[in-house]
Symmetry: D2
Subunit: 339 residues, 4 copies
């Protein structure tokens, strides 16, 4: 970290900062330029702590972090991409692009089993479906809760698909863990640190969605929370960020794929359904994702989107989903991947 002193910082103020750095256990490296006095601090720092503590000194102009704040998620911890094993030969992070598909919410046994069979046929290996739904309005359908989890399990048993479902409350981690293969942490909970710690104590895979206004750094720090509890099976999921543009539900940050893969060894998944909010845009977005190196896709598919209790406007019908996977396999081949 570089401490930049104000142009008019007095000697006394500089000394205070130097002393404080030493008191915190670091070695300060002052260096006087033509106009600016800088104080470098080298080594393994706790950046948030330093900023909180040093930021209050009146002689300081600004603090400039040099090192990245994350440890376990970074490429300097592990150089090659992590391959995460979901069991029975289903993995993510390798040559094959993993497809997760299913309805936004589990609504009935018929709905989920029908969907599971259909998406499996088209190439999906993981069934998605929400049992606990975080909804903007308290008056909207909140999900089938445990009943929904049981139906997911039934669908999984019948088809052999793995299951991913969202957990929203730290109290439910154990319950949800009894039924799912992958925990999904939703965008609204990306910085629900107690929930992150709770799934971090499990050893099941966790798909962590990027918060809608989270920077890459904050996103990776949230993954760090999970990993710091011992669970290294973390999958990053870009699902659109919030910008001034409201025509689409979110702005899908596809360039996040190469960025996250440059900064981190964790696999990266794209959610083209939430990322766009319109079923007509799901296939184009998924095409971009595959071309740009995504390790997986998570897609909303519903037997009858016009009857969906949630997210119908961004769900694909079975026939559209099948057509999309066909498209994607061509692109996957063109970029040396498989789907």
């Amino acid at each position: 970290m570089i401490i930049v002193m104000k142009d008019k910082a007095k000697e006394k103020e500089i000394k205070q900062v130097v002393d404080r750095v030493e008191e915190l256990g670091y070695t300060p490296h002052p260096s006087r330029g033509a106009k600016k006095m800088l104080i470098g601090i080298i080594g393994d720092l706790n950046r948030e702590e330093l900023i909180d503590s040093l930021g209050a000194y009146p002689g300081i102009d600004k603090l400039v972090p040099i090192m990245e704040p994350y440890k376990l998620v970074g490429r300097s911890f592990k150089d090659n991409t992590s391959i995460i094993d979901l069991g029975d030969g289903v993995t993510i992070g390798g040559k094959e692009i993993l497809v997760m598909a299913g309805p936004c919410a589990v609504e009935s046994e018929e709905q989920i089993i029908k969907t599971a069979a259909a998406v499996k046929k088209s190439g999906a290996k993981v069934l998605r479906g929400g049992a606990f739904k975080p909804r903007t309005s308290p008056y909207s359908f909140q999900g089938m809760q445990e009943e929904g989890l049981k139906l997911l399990k039934t669908a999984s048993d019948e088809t052999g698909l793995k299951v991913i479902t969202e957990v929203v409350d730290p109290r439910d981690v154990e319950l949800v863990g009894n039924y799912t293969d992958v925990f999904q942490i939703g965008a609204r909970n990306m910085q629900n640190f107690y929930l992150l710690k709770e799934v971090g104590k499990s050893n099941k895979a966790v798909l962590l969605k990027r918060g809608m206004s989270a920077t890459y750094k904050e996103f990776l720090m949230a993954a760090e929370y999970i990993m710091s509890e011992g669970n290294y099976n973390v999958i990053l999921c870009e699902r659109g960020i919030r910008t001034f543009e409201t025509y689409t539900r979110n702005t899908l940050d596809l360039v996040g794929i190469p960025v996250l893969k440059k900064l981190s060894h964790l696999p990266v998944v794209i959610d083209p359904s939430h990322g766009t909010g319109q079923w007509e845009l799901v296939t184009p977005a998924a095409r971009g994702a595959v071309a740009m190196g995504a390790d997986g896709l998570i897609v909303e598919v519903h037997p009858e989107p016009t009857k969906a209790l949630s997210d119908g406007q961004q769900s694909l019908k079975f026939s559209k989903f099948t057509a999309m996977i066909d498209d994607l396999s061509q692109i996957a081949n063109a970029v040396g991947r498989e789907i």
Copy 2:
């Protein structure tokens, strides 16, 4: 809600939508313009449900909501500003602007008691202090937990100040409730719906912070979650939103004060500390807040900001805090309020 059909929507597609609206229990009002076919739906609608369900019809161009989605938080539910009673004559929403002040985190008995005495002397009626800290890094100080709650209680007993502290986990609502007068829900948890429901079951006041990328509507819908569980003692807190500008920690949306007061009857508080992230900007921001009609302020104050374990850079020293309150009382008088 107005359903706008595509220019090229076929009669069959229009009929499908009309039928679906009826099936959902509403009365459709089709109306054909020069270029557009519109279908109105009148009455008490569940907007999220309608959008989810109708959004998937191929003949529909867009859905235009007309009514606001909230009920209990709105001015149509209650016209005059809610005055919330925190006990012992401390209220918010009336002529007096309520000042809440204290350190970001409770760090020690000495720190919190010294601060409580100082802020009381300057005019604060509520002591703030975090015991459970949501931090960006898992390696940073996470708060003193229950020990911190006890120290807040001690400081409250000694000074007569009311207490506000953050609750971050639904499992802790009961515990925190034993020590605090006001629950604080942080910006990162604004859409942690299970936590909102949990404090909604209490009858203690809840200060709800706006999420850093939450629209006014989403903010008010989060308050609706709390109220829909029966707890009407909700205080709205604007604490800065995330924008492209990174010079300040957040962009403090002071115009949110008159907007929220126009849309809702709930009292509105400003947090100039998180809103700016720099102690030099706290007083100017607070001045604006008072001039623009805020019902309260929540301010970070620390005996020695340069030694703070958290947020030192945006905390005021006692002397600065006292000077600020003096300033603010002049402005409060000028706008017909008291502080």
Copy 3:
């Protein structure tokens, strides 16, 4: 347009609005719902005018536009994608994806001629290069001006490449037009309406870059400015928008490709260089663009990026550019296009 009256609007206020609508020459269609009074206005409206005029009535809650504001740029004006002819068989909007490449700024005869030869060899058909440079700092290199235009012409004559270069001042449109085949309007000038009108009077193709905080609608309205002067040869260029994320120079909105192509018949080009700001991200971004249906790419290429006077950090070396085009041709084939 739908006028939504306030819940408490008085009869007199409703009448005022109805009268005003008639005075403006439209037919009002009042309709009373359970809670809301709505007034519809049907037909060919000037939306901006109506909003400006009606917005001031105290009884009005809000104005909800139904029709899109653009005429010439929209799919309802022209259904099939426009193919724009740049001369000598070079077109954009058809099956072939047009590649435009070259340095950010023209720096010397050697630089531009060397680059022209190299990009032509790799498949580019248009040479880009700035002669008038809009720079953030007045102390930075501002471009070679007319001298630069002449060098572009020389390079074009030697290679047969078409030329695209930016025009920043309405006074220069004629001058620049003497040397270029395509006018480029930069993001900072997207709403420089006098400049738009000036190039609108020409019949040369115009590549219009999206402003960094322009919505799709504003972007298309800027294109409408050019077309409304009679020049229909407009090419839309997405080059990244400004968001809270600062790791990349901009956030490249690749989903804008299918959105713009849905709303408009104009061809869509992606600028992966400005869109990302980092040469390592240019190829991944371009891959996504091709997979998602872009009609063209505009890419910064420099013989020696480390010596560039402008944008070196996002420029590709010749070898990287060649490798990228090879990659892209695989993806283009996979999606039924050519490059």
Copy 4:
């Protein structure tokens, strides 16, 4: 500037960068930390040039600027706030808060003269009014052009008010200068550098509006453009930035007042009309502006907002304007200013 090398940068790559820095005429100061190799460059740098040139080196992780990029606008160039003289004793930057008011657009002689008289009576010293209007739609009223300028002059002659009006085209600077006392540069033209240079050659005051997605730095660099041409009479105007919130027309960044005054010596004006887009929010926003230290206000006032050709929804009637100024004078007194 600090150059941060990649963790794996080779000696050869480090040497290349050191050599290049020397070649550019600066002295590199390499310094090896525990994990990172840093190279400092001290002195009077052209930051944009350095970033453009060094950014392309493969061994470089990132470039961290330390010095601010502006010279003439900064507090290190001039410490005390600039007081700008508009003639006849009208100044901005001193104790008195300058009020500029008038219609969005000049529409007729009666309208502008009536307004001039009314706003003068309430305390305004400068008359605003647009003759050249940048409108989102080419089909909207584009202003009265030179005819409008003449009417402004007439109104000025009759009332003694100074005049501010927008110039949008470099070709019009001379013409507009014949009629106005202050040039207004609109938000959309903040980075229209040729226009900035043109008004920079004049010695009339220039009110520069912040672009809707401009950072403070970019805003100040645009002011630097004007000053670098010799015109030091620059007034900064915050008029709202673009964020995800669409309820208000823009998000008015009132904290920008203390920030800009900390970074720069130039006076700061707030535009509460464009900043909010709703006449009901104009007075609250102006109250905040005065409390937070604004040096001036620019407000839209219209004799009959419901008949306005432009921006009626955000214009105040005369009576509301008078009431607002009364309010503001109370607040001004409370903060040691006058209005």
